[in-house]
Symmetry: C2
DNA sequence: GTCTATATCAAGATAGAC
DNA sequence: GTCTATCTTGATATAGAC
């Protein structure tokens, strides 16, 4: 039986799951290693520190959203109505399919007041989300109105994810998506 | 020079400040003690564990809101317009006056997936907020519409607090309060 | 009520064998 | 690439002197 080679990506995926559920500081290298079937020392072959895993986790998620969600907003071959529907559908799929809510939102509250590097990465991610949403809304609203609405709905989505996890109910979260679609 | 007696309340206030800025797990008993001018061992004279400080912090904040914010909603000597204005004003005062946003929101994301006791306390607090807001809104909306709106605006407020801290700008947060007032 | 001192444990991280 | 072993630090918590 060959020893399984664990990839960087596999470790990131397990780390993200744990960070979302247990929080960043409450997740240890040993926890991450165990989830990968390794012992903690072995993780350091792939990442030089826990903070690196944290930053790479943010990047990993950002890349997923760029590729599978935000890109929809800029696909000018589709109508804006179709784009906003698809956009909301993809966001919902992501946040309804796993436990613990939005890692970026969680980390924004857990450690962005302390760690400037994390804060910058999280800000970039949220701005990309707002920009994508605003790009669709610009077809119907003036530029600065579109921007305000986009930020408002990102806020609302984050708040709704928080309460969805707190109440173990997706009902109110789902209403947010419907409201976003109705904007167009 | 007499040795200063540190009260439970003083410790809670310092702990709350630190939890909001540094996060719960990233705040140590030594950090809390230092903020109070004590050394860590001395804290155990007042609280039997860090978790007790956490739970008591939530209670402390909840009591503050019950007394100074939620009570406004139920003051039937004022018009509903006056009540909603005062309510929003008090909420704004609280969240604009200190760094780190809303401890209950932060802890909801940092540790409520893991710790049932914390989760229950946080849920109770958010429900009280919703109930108070819904009570005012009932004057103009049907009961279940008022409840939906209340939850939506609590979500929106929490999301806006998150982004306010992330972007170091209160502009969008303040718009939320105006929207709430316009509901009546 | 606060201090010094210490017990105990778990964290992040590194070195070197296999 | 993973393991064992270990270093170092810092965490929660306790005991007992002042």
């Amino acid at each position: 039986m060959a020893i399984k080679k664990t990839s960087r990506e596999e470790i990131l995926q397990e780390a993200i799951k744990l960070f979302k559920i247990r929080g960043y500081y409450n997740t240890s290298m040993a926890n991450i290693a165990e989830a990968c079937g390794l012992i903690k020392g072995s993780i350091y072959h792939h990442f030089k520190s826990k903070d690196e895993i944290g930053i790479e986790s943010l990047k990993y998620i950002h890349e997923y959203f760029d590729k599978h969600v935000y890109s929809i907003a800029y696909d000018d071959t589709l109508s804006s109505k179709k784009r906003i529907k698809l956009f909301v559908q993809k966001v919902d799929e992501y946040f309804l399919s796993s436990k613990g809510g939005c890692l970026l939102g969680n980390l924004a509250l857990e450690l962005s007041s302390e760690n400037e590097e994390f804060k910058k990465a999280i800000r970039t991610y949220f701005l990309a989300w707002e920009d994508a949403l605003a790009y669709i809304l610009k077809e119907k609203y003036k530029e600065d109105e579109a921007k305000k609405l986009a930020r408002e709905y990102v806020s609302l989505t984050q708040g709704a994810i928080m309460l969805m996890n707190l109440y173990d109910s997706s009902e109110d979260y789902l209403r947010v998506g419907k409201k976003i679609i109705d904007l167009i």
